[in-house]
Amino acid sequence: MRPGAHPLLVAFAAGLAGILIGPTLIVTVMSFSAARLLSFPPRGLSLHWYANFLGDDTWVRAIMNSVQVGVGAACLATVVGSLMAFGIVRGRYPGRAAVNALVLGPMLVPSVVLSIGLYFMFVRLKLVGSLPGLVIAHACLGLPYVVLVVSSGLRTLDPSLERAASGLGAGPLRTFFRVTLPLTLPSAAAGALFAFITSWDDVIVAFFLSSPVTRTLPVVMWGATQDTTDPTLAAVATFLSLVTTLIFVVFLFIRRRDPTF
């Protein structure tokens, strides 16, 4: 213990860390258990459940679905969200605040409400159960994060840089592609990662909008908790958190590499 840290503070911090990290650690440990039922502490060590998970078509297809939907939703949300951020930060028109509030809507509306609404919309558009439908729905979920991150990036962009570019002879297009875009890219990348994680973690919207063949990993997991009790589920959960963690590490890496971000 460092001098000056009060024992109560240390205990509080440790308790908080336990609540935040504990559940993930427990699941991770259980996934390596040799026991046949989900149990803690584990008895013996085994990679059996990982083999089970990766050898099962249902799980593998779910992974593929999740990756496709996640990547598609992140791309869509990033492109649309970045353009919206430009419109919100740079635009000069009445109702800008309203547009901003509207864009943040999906973050505020409960997922269940959004899901039911999307379901009835998608029924008409014949998108229920399809991957494109899921991509669009998840892009909606990720959009607010992209808009928030990119617009804050744009607001911190020094306006004299764009002035300098045009003063030095670059037209509006050249200024955008050589100055504005490269300097906004790190924010857009961060927004894309947030959008991917949002999609990767979602169970509610995907539950409503997926068909048996387009079910994403969290939806299949949810189903599995209903009728199985073996540690395969823990292995899947560990895999899920590992991907999220990796993405977060990438995010921190971008941030450290680029001080303008």
Partner: protein, 374 residues
């Protein structure tokens, strides 16, 4: 390339706020013109109107016979150095300097040659591959200068380019900017609020006040013949005496209920009763022992007492309380024969009436106590 610039009756308002009002300037090719004034006086707005970032409500901007008033910034071919340098943080030094050349679609070999040359000119040849954040403030400033002149614009605009640097470095870069701009023959419009910098660097200075040009002239014109109390107060140190003109016995004098001051102007030059200020520079005052003042016919002599005597190396500075509750500052060469006067010593302060510049009105901030204004 010539670089002759004409601003004619340029005005710009933001809502009810006047940023620039009726500004007209003619700048000759190769001239170094400084826009000097306190913040918010319109000097930066003028610069941005020339650069094309701000569109004037009225007036025209003409460069070498070409009307630029409606031309967007990227088609004006004017170099600009920003206050915070505005280097592109994601590009190397060389890429920053190459940017204006690439925007002009110059062949790659030519770009490389010119970038190398420009970096040599600012003595940064070895730092071409660095990123801007790896450079010191002075180096960043030099890169910004190289980038602004690499495409050989006829006109270079500089917006308080040295504001963020410490005094020593600022003085060195002032000299470098002067040498480089004169070497290139480029016309420079330089914005600063530092009057010493303006006096040191410029061929001519435009003193801004409240969106208008108060006086446009050479450094010595501004210093020796200020047209207003504002200019006198902003450029250099000065002693100012404000009062009413009285016809006097033999010639007009300044009356403010104290010691009358001869104005050294002809009787018909000033309206009796007009409110005026007499400006006398501290180095124009002579400080003598009582009775020692040579009875020059064209001099003003007022008795007083030394309040503070400050030794500054090459000069001595005296703060003197004059009879009649006025205070002045005098600057005397240390090599001057009078020697040092101690605080409390009775003295006579005298100046040649020709060195008292009469300007209309009074210094801002109301009634002047006859003290030093900076």
């Amino acid at each position: 390339m010539n670089g002759a610039l004409s601003l004619t009756a340029v005005s710009k308002r933001y809502g009810d706020v006047v940023a620039v009002e009726g500004v007209s300037i003619d700048v000759a090719g190769g001239e170094f013109l400084t826009l000097l004034g306190p913040s918010g006086s319109g000097k930066t707005t003028t610069l941005q109107i020339v650069a094309g970032f701000v569109r004037p409500d009225r007036g025209t901007v003409v460069l070498d016979g070409r009307d630029l008033t409606g031309v967007p910034p990227h088609r004006r071919n004017i170099g600009m150095v920003f206050q915070n340098y505005a280097l592109f943080p994601h590009m190397t030094v060389a890429d920053n300097v190459a940017f204006p050349l690439e925007s002009r679609r110059m062949p790659r070999a030519e770009v490389r040659r010119r970038v190398g040359e420009a970096l040599e000119t600012v003595r940064l040849g070895g730092l071409a591959a660095r990123m801007p954040r790896q450079l010191s403030g002075g180096q960043q400033q030099r890169v910004a200068l190289a980038r602004a002149v690499v495409f050989r614009p006829p006109l270079l605009l500089m917006d308080e380019p040295l504001g963020a640097l410490d005094k020593k470095l600022r003085e060195r870069l002032q000299l470098e900017i002067m040498e480089i701009s004169r070497g290139l023959g480029v016309t420079v419009i330089y914005v600063t609020h530092d009057q010493e910098e303006a006096l040191f660097m410029s061929h001519r200075i435009a003193v801004y006040h409240g969106g208008r040009i108060e006086q446009l002239g050479t450094p010595d014109e501004l210093y020796e013949r200020p047209v207003s109390a504002f200019v006198a107060g902003f450029v250099g140190d000065s002693n100012m005496f404000t009062g009413r003109v009285d016809d006097g016995v033999s010639e007009p004098v300044l009356i403010d209920g104290r010691w009358p001051i001869r104005l050294g102007v002809r009787r018909n030059g000033l309206q009796a009763g007009a409110r005026v200020t007499v400006v006398v520079r501290p180095e124009r005052l002579r400080v003598n022992a009582p009775g020692a003042s040579v009875g020059a016919a064209r001099a003003v002599t007022i008795p007083g007492r030394v309040r503070e005597a400050i030794y500054l190396g090459s000069v001595r500075k005296y703060v003197i309380d004059l009879e009649g509750d006025r205070r002045v500052t005098a600057r005397v060469q240390t090599s001057d024969a009078t020697g040092e006067l101690a605080a409390g010593a009775p003295v006579e302060v005298t100046w040649d009436v020709a060195h008292g510049v009469v300007v209309p009105g009074e210094p801002e901030g109301g009634e002047d106590e006859g003290g030093v204004r900076r």
